[in-house]
Amino acid sequence: MLILSRRVNESINIGDKIEIAIIDLRGDQVKVGIKAPRDVKVYRQEVYNAIQQENLMASRAGTDLPTLVKLLPEENSKEKN
């Protein structure tokens, strides 16, 4: 991994289409600005990873699906009928 030191208001260019700027520093938080073409998807890594992980778990389920109505608490299923 390339590691660069930057001050607030300084930037890094990746190729000629992506610019990453350091906007603000507060305590242990860094505010980063990203300029990129629309087809470059920018996500917070933990969100991306969480969805990927959830998809993996969802894909491992068996094929015996529950019947939603049967699992519902008594009151609700009565309301439905």
Binding site: I51, Q53, N55, M57, A61, L65, L71, L72
Partner: protein
């Protein structure tokens, strides 16, 4: 056409049930061809891979347990599956369901909803930019909870 499915073995489907996911599904980016099947158990659907028989996701319409659910994505991203906005009449919204051993603890992923353009048969998993929607929403709990707080 005849397809191989995880839940129902070899079955015949209508060509109109075929979907193309140009970006795949997160973690399964290389698989782009799916079919949308009604599950035998309502209100679920199967999103069955047409490339890997053992890969299938259970889907649900989130409106069933969260009528207040909203997908917030930028219109340019929707454009990649031929939709102008979420108000487009061709936009169908689904959530992937995770079913653990204790089925009453099943959850729906509302942070990564699946949007399908029913006209062009394209689909995509989006990342909901509204951070109040999580990867695990307990379907039965939220369904039973009549007083759930507005998001």
């Amino acid at each position: 056409m005849t397809i191989q499915t995880k839940a129902y073995g070899t079955i015949e489907i209508d060509d109109r049930q075929q979907l193309f996911f140009p970006f795949g599904i997160l973690g399964f980016e290389h698989l782009k061809h799916y079919a949308l099947l009604d599950a035998a158990q309502q209100p679920f659907y199967w999103l069955q891979s047409l490339e890997v028989r053992e890969l299938a996701f259970v889907l649900i319409n989130p409106a069933i347990f969260r009528p207040d659910f909203e997908v917030k994505v930028i219109d340019e991203e929707l454009g990649e599956i031929g939709l102008k906005s979420m108000e487009d009449a061709n936009a169908l919204t689904f959530a992937i369901v995770t079913i653990p051993e204790n089925q009453s603890k099943m959850t729906a992923n509302l942070q990564g909803p699946i949007i399908i353009n029913k006209e062009t048969k394209q689909g995509r998993q989006f990342i909901n930019s509204d951070s109040c929607w999580k990867t695990k929403h307990y379907i039965l709990q939220e369904l039973a909870d009549l007083r759930h707080e507005a998001c």
